[in-house]
Amino acid sequence: MKARPLYLLISPFAMEATLFYILATMLVVFAILTVTAANPVRSAVYLISALLGMAGLFFLLQAEFVGAVQILVYVGGIMVLFLFVIMLVSVREVETQRRANRQWKTALVLGIVLSFELVYFVVQGADVFRIDTISQDLIIESQTLNTETVAGLLYSTYLLPFEIASVLLLVAMIAAVVLTQKQL
């Protein structure tokens, strides 16, 4: 092992980059595995891992609340629901059937094209996104917790969307109940 000064390993920038790449790799790998897994259960588990990686990225981006909500709601709620339905629906003949449909080649090509285009888009316009040279000092110097900030915004400026979201959840719940009734 190389003798590296410890402070370099634990300097914020280096740590950020390392963490980012680890989390990014994890995300991408698990995302691909999600899409290509044969077994839906496996696909669900891979997705959970990908979401966890995403949550890690959120934490990296100083958005602790969103990261926490991601884990609690997305992974703990939605993915569990997925697993329930998987168990209900596709237990029997999963392994024997082919995974992709007839248009998978075209879809793959399109996906690659899309990715390339979007990446190109982003990279080309990179200097546009650099609106402010963010200094980490600002982030560190922030006094309020992220949760407080978000909450403050959520209940003031975005109160209406918040309430509507509540109604939406109610409606979704009713819809789910109605849709799965044995007889309408």
Binding site: A31, V66, V69, A172, K182
Partner: protein, 100 residues
């Protein structure tokens, strides 16, 4: 130095993976899961910009996205169950009742 471009590129890659998944897989549940991937990549985009611009609005929006994703997943899965009850299959390329 990880700047926003990295996050954005990562977001687009994940989004594309999600698109491929939606277009390719036969199992309708996996399609739904691919959709969730796409939504998440968008969330990443939002939060990255929120961090860049030091504006929490992006995170608020991300919370809303998660909320909607939950609602949509619930309804979607309800539809799948109803579909499964009727068609005994979860493969979308076997469902072509609307075929012209």
């Amino acid at each position: 130095m990880v700047d926003i471009t990295h996050y954005l590129v990562l977001s687009t890659i994940v989004f594309s993976i999600g698109v491929v998944g939606v277009l390719t897989r036969r199992n309708v549940i996996i399609i739904l899961m691919s959709i969730e991937l796409m939504l998440n990549s968008v969330n990443l985009n939002l939060v990255a910009f929120s961090d860049q611009l030091q504006d929490p609005s992006g995170q608020v929006f991300a919370i809303f996205v998660i909320t909607v994703a939950a609602a949509e997943a619930a309804v979607g899965l309800g539809i799948i169950i109803a579909l499964f009850r009727n068609k005994e299959t979860v493969n979308v390329d076997e469902i072509d009742l609307m075929r012209g």
